[in-house]
Amino acid sequence: MMIEALIAVALVGALVTFVAPNRIAGKLAFAISLVPAALSLWLFAAFDGSGNALLDGELAFESQTAWLEIGDHSVSWFVGLDGISLPLVVLTTILCTLAIVSSWTPIDERESQFYGLILFIEASLIGVFSALDFFLWFVFWEAVLIPMYLLIGIWGGPRRKYAAIKFFVYTNVASLVMFGSFIALVFGLGDSVTSFALPEIATAMRNGGLDGLFGLGGPALASVVFVGMFLGFAVKVPIVPFHTWLPDAHVEAPTPASVLLAGVLLKMGTYALLRFNFTMFPDQVETYAIPIAAIAVISVIYGAMLALAQTDLKRIVAYSSVSSMGYVILGLVAYTTFGVGGATFQMVSHGLISGLMFMAVGVIYNATHTRMVTDMSGMADRMPIAVGILIAGAFGYMGLPLMSGFYGEFTIFFGTFGSELLEYSPLFTSLAMFGIVIVAGYLLFALQRTVFGPYRLETDYEVGRAPVHDIASMGVLLGLIILLGVAPDLIFDMITDAIEPIIGGGL
């Protein structure tokens, strides 16, 4: 019942915060969020699962209760964690706590509603990563969208309405495509499955239980469903060309929403790709390996080029997420232990690093009220510690060794280079790796213009140092980034343990 407790604390906390006075909402939400954070760390320490949750693995903290019947299929409350989902749950709880802290300075209206929504997102996200029944999972999946829509639409920047609706409609349409595809799959499986439990469906798929539907044969149906679900998740990741909602959402979203959006919400897309497409359809992965690798490479290079053209710090970090998530897709399609494992690691790592970058940009914005590269220079003069952390985060983004980003990228590159499933894998790897040059280009260029050089900022007030609570929360992230860079096996071991059943014992 540990996972239920985790979700319940966040959900009840959300309700309590909703009705609490604005004055204390921030501190209250922080105190409440410490409970799931501590609990999830305890789960991490007490984790005793092994194998893959969908493929006969030993689940940790498993709990299953029959819920209802739809036709011949039963739906149940079914949650549990394996080595893939646990790190993401920990990432979620930690980032939510830090996002709450980073809201203290910028959020000064309707605080109780704001913090309530953050806790509501937290509950939903934990649900997404731990649910093992398709219906339950889908409820959580959709439940994430609403509070994020509100966070952008209410507390966002000048074009918040446009950005929020674009985010909501775009990802919702994608969800619909994905949902339809999945239901077609369940019907196609016919009598092979009797429930919406993902392990049952995954096992049936891998045992070749797909019959066909609407006149389509099994393999054809599998291809249609694979593509449909891939497109559905591609929007969430986002993969080029479905990425245009992301920069708009980021630019308009308040800092804490950006932290969660880049840090965790994007990972829903890659997590779902891994859980559904790459676990249930090994044959289709092989068939579509080259086009998927191609769009992964395009996402990396094109996303980085877009980042290079931006002058808004937040847009730079937003586009660089497109680039970084391209690496994840490349690692997944490599279908090797290091490729898929590195991709999963990169999800966590990118969550930490992009969270840190958005926080640092937010801290500078709080002080300067501008995010335009051209509006300021020499910020290191006024905010030395915050800028120091920003520089460290930027180098983390560039993949500096002994920080988590390097490990994620290196293992992806290594795992992809020798991939047997993906043809021309050395070529794809080498092309994608050029991203590490472009990322250095746009981040160093931005640093040169904003934090270095003679101090220049047109304000009618004196810019002072960053608040201690912001420094502290950025420091926690930086510490985690370095910890995972030095000791990646803290999570990589459990990740590979859960990956190997997917790719068949490990290539």
Binding site: I165, V169, F338, P401, T429, L444, F445, L447, Q448, D489
Partner: protein
């Protein structure tokens, strides 16, 4: 291997740990420490030096040390050579090469820390804590790079020294130029490291190991693959070794500032002169060349890769030397001379002259650190003036600076018996010997030989303009004084620059038939070595024929005579032109060539164009495409459903309570529907 793991070698990790501790202490407490953190740095580097010397002595006593400290990660992977599984570790490899390099790096680091007391602390500089912390982080990374026992670990610390270089070049971040130079340095080397990383990944994916030494090393695996005629990634094994070797070489060319990646180094002179001495002359720039020496067994397998190394080296030696001739800033002269000298090391290694290359690496570390620190002393004397045309006549006013600088200059120019002569001569001799059989190498040799003349010329032009003649400015009339912290490192390095060459008097040994080529014995494992990592082992692998003119002795003497003659000719030309009371510029005699040289062969222009004229417009075009076409389709789709959204808009009241009600209501509604379907209410 295991037998020697105890004893003195147990302390090996301390070499890197000391500076790391100094970094942390300085970062956290630096503000409250006396001298703002200089003392932890000095103590740490002194500690590293002591342990390094102990390691050196232990190797001299026949020991070697190869151990794994920490498993970074491991996992299942199938490599091309059918090795199952791979481990990525941090380990220590102490053999003659790394022991020598550890002593060099920790010694120069210690001297630069001491010198900083006189150079940085004395000037009322702010940000000293940052300076010493970054210097500590650099020393840690560099030392860990040197004793790395595998290619991935080497790459990781290679990147970290790049970070420190970036931070220290940009130390004076309030200026416009320093951050720009720092960015350029990191970007250009990153471009090289891109190829390096592909090389690391390729080697790991090919051989299932990244170790430098032993049976489990990728070098041994590559040898086996070539012997067995294995096909690797669709290529025959030797071609694949060449490809991967050249990929790794990308990182080498970047860090060691070889053509065409040399452009960042002159700009890097924006950093404090102490940083130039430590990082951009003696140690970090050496990392590239050191890496080639470290994995020399791998390059030895590929004559093509070696020939390319030699040619690039010879070309860079000449190319950079010609640019140094027209520079007015004393640090710029030294920067181009650094590029040129690393070219010699590459030339030496490329022709299979492992000893010669390492010998020059050692000598250069001493005399170039000396020259940079000397230039730092001159800059103190000159009240922060760096233009040599504003100097003159400092000879009598600052004798310690002058004589030590002169020792460094003689070593750089390659005048007998100063250290640079012996090692440069050995490089050129090895190149000549191979060149007599290989036309490409002969061309590389010719360029290296011609560069000797330019080296002699620009070195003494610098000495004469700076120290001789009449003072040409008020600052030169009345120079500032320098303290002991400046003089002690200069004297120490001056002594080394003078005598270090005696470590390997190859021509003398040849003439007298005496066993005095100590460095060769050292690197050949005569005292202690890891099996396979010896000069002899490499020499047997390298497939180059060697020729002689007459006998080996006459060839050696001929080569030495030629290079010494050219060096003296260069120095003499500088003497006639500039060693006069009132020297004047002679640049008009160069005509159009002057403009080309002064513009550095337009190398910067085309690289800046690549970044700002090509990549940036391309990025902007991509951005426009993204905004109009891709996002246009998205927004266009939504316009079609505008009618629907117009209705939906009405629920956007902006009142959160309404939203919350909708949220909760929707959730409950969903539950009810599901519940109904599930038959709860039946």
């Amino acid at each position: 291997m295991a037998a020697t793991a105890t004893g003195p070698f147990g302390f090996a990790p301390a070499i890197a740990v000391f500076p790391l501790v100094a970094f942390v202490i300085t970062l956290v407490f630096g503000r409250h420490l006396p001298k703002k953190g200089a003392l932890p740095g000095i103590l740490a580097t002194a500690g590293s030096l002591v342990v390094s010397v102990v390691m050196f002595a232990a190797v001299a006593g026949g020991g070697e040390h190869h151990t794994t400290l920490y498993e970074w990660t491991s996992g299942a992977a199938t490599s091309e050579t059918m090795v199952e599984g791979i481990e990525f570790t941090f380990g220590i490899l102490i053999d003659p090469l790394s022991a020598l390099m550890l002593v060099i790096v920790s010694l120069v680091a210690l001297l630069v820390h001491v010198f900083s007391l006189g150079y940085m602390n004395a000037e009322g500089e702010t940000g000293l804590r940052r300076y010493y912390a970054e210097l500590g982080l650099f020393t840690f990374s560099m030392l860990a790079f040197v004793f790395a026992d595998n290619l991935l670990m080497a790459f990781m610390f290679f990147e970290l020294v790049g970070l420190c270089s970036y931070l220290l070049i940009g130390f004076w971040f309030r200026t416009e130029s320093a951050p720009s130079a720092a960015k350029k340095a990191f970007l250009v080397t990153r471009f090289g490291d891109y190829f390096f990383l592909i090389g690391v990944v390729a080697i790991a994916a090919t051989f299932g190991t990244v170790g430098f030494a032993g049976e489990e090393s990728f070098v041994t695996a590559a040898e086996t693959a070539i012997d067995d005629g294995t096909t690797l990634f669709g290529f025959d094994a030797e071609t694949w070794v060449t490809i991967t070797g050249l990929l790794v070489l990308g990182g080498v060319l970047g860090k060691s500032a070889q053509f065409p990646f040399h452009t960042w180094l002159p700009d890097a002179m924006e950093g404090p002169t102490t940083v130039s001495a430590l990082i951009h002359a003696a140690t970090m720039v050496a990392a590239g060349v050191y890496l080639v020496a470290r994995m020399f067994g791998y390059y030895a397998l590929s004559p093509t890769a070696l020939a390319i190394i030699a040619f690039v080296g010879g070309f860079t030696a000449l190319f950079a030397a010609t640019m140094a001739v027209v520079k007015d800033d004393i640090k710029q002269v030294l920067a181009y001379s650094t590029i040129s000298q690393y070219g010699y090391m590459m030339l030496g290694l490329g022709v299979g002259g492992y000893v010669a290359g390492v010998f020059h690496l050692m000598n250069h570390a001493f005399f170039k650190a000396l020259l940079f620190l000397g230039a730092g002393a001159v800059i103190i004397l000159m009240h922060h003036e760096q233009d040599m045309w504003e100097m003159g006549g400092l000879k009598d006013k600052a004798p310690v600076t002058y004589y030590t600088f002169l020792a460094g200059a003689l070593a750089l120019a390659g005048i007998v018996p100063f250290s640079g002569f012996w090692s440069k001569d050995e490089v050129l001799f090895d190149a000549l010997a191979v060149g007599l059989e290989q036309p490409v190498i002969l061309a590389a040799y010719a360029m290296g030989l011609l560069a000797v003349f330019f080296t002699g010329f620009y070195t003494f032009r610098m000495v004469f303009l700076t120290f001789h003649g009449e003072p040409r400015s008020a600052a030169a009339e009345d120079p500032h004084s320098v303290g002991w912290a400046v003089k002690v490192p200069l004297l120490a390095l001056g002594t080394l620059a003078t005598v270090a060459g005696f470590a390997n008097l190859a021509p003398v040994a040849e003439l007298l038939h005496a066993d005095i080529t100590f460095l060769e014995f050292w690197l050949d494992g005569k005292y202690g070595a890891v099996e396979g990592l010896t000069y002899h082992a490499y020499h047997e692998t390298v497939a180059f024929e060697e020729g002689v003119i007459g006998s080996e002795t006459t060839t050696m003497l001929l080569s030495a005579g030629l290079s010494l003659g050219l060096a003296l000719a260069g120095a003499f030309t500088a003497h006639t032109l500039y060693n006069v009371p009132e020297p004047s510029r002679h640049t008009t005699k160069l005509g159009g060539a002057y403009r080309v040289l002064k513009s550095n062969y337009y190398q910067d222009e085309y690289q800046v164009w690549l970044a700002e004229g090509l990549t940036l417009p391309l990025a902007r075009a991509a951005d426009r495409f993204d905004q109009t076409v891709i996002d246009g389709v998205v927004n266009g789709t939504s316009t079609i459903s505008l009618f629907g959204s117009d209705r939906v808009k009405r629920i956007q009241t902006g009142i959160v309570t309404n939203y919350a009600a909708l949220l909760v209501g929707g959730f409950i509604g969903l539950l009810l529907v599901l519940g109904y379907l599930g038959g709860w209410f039946a």
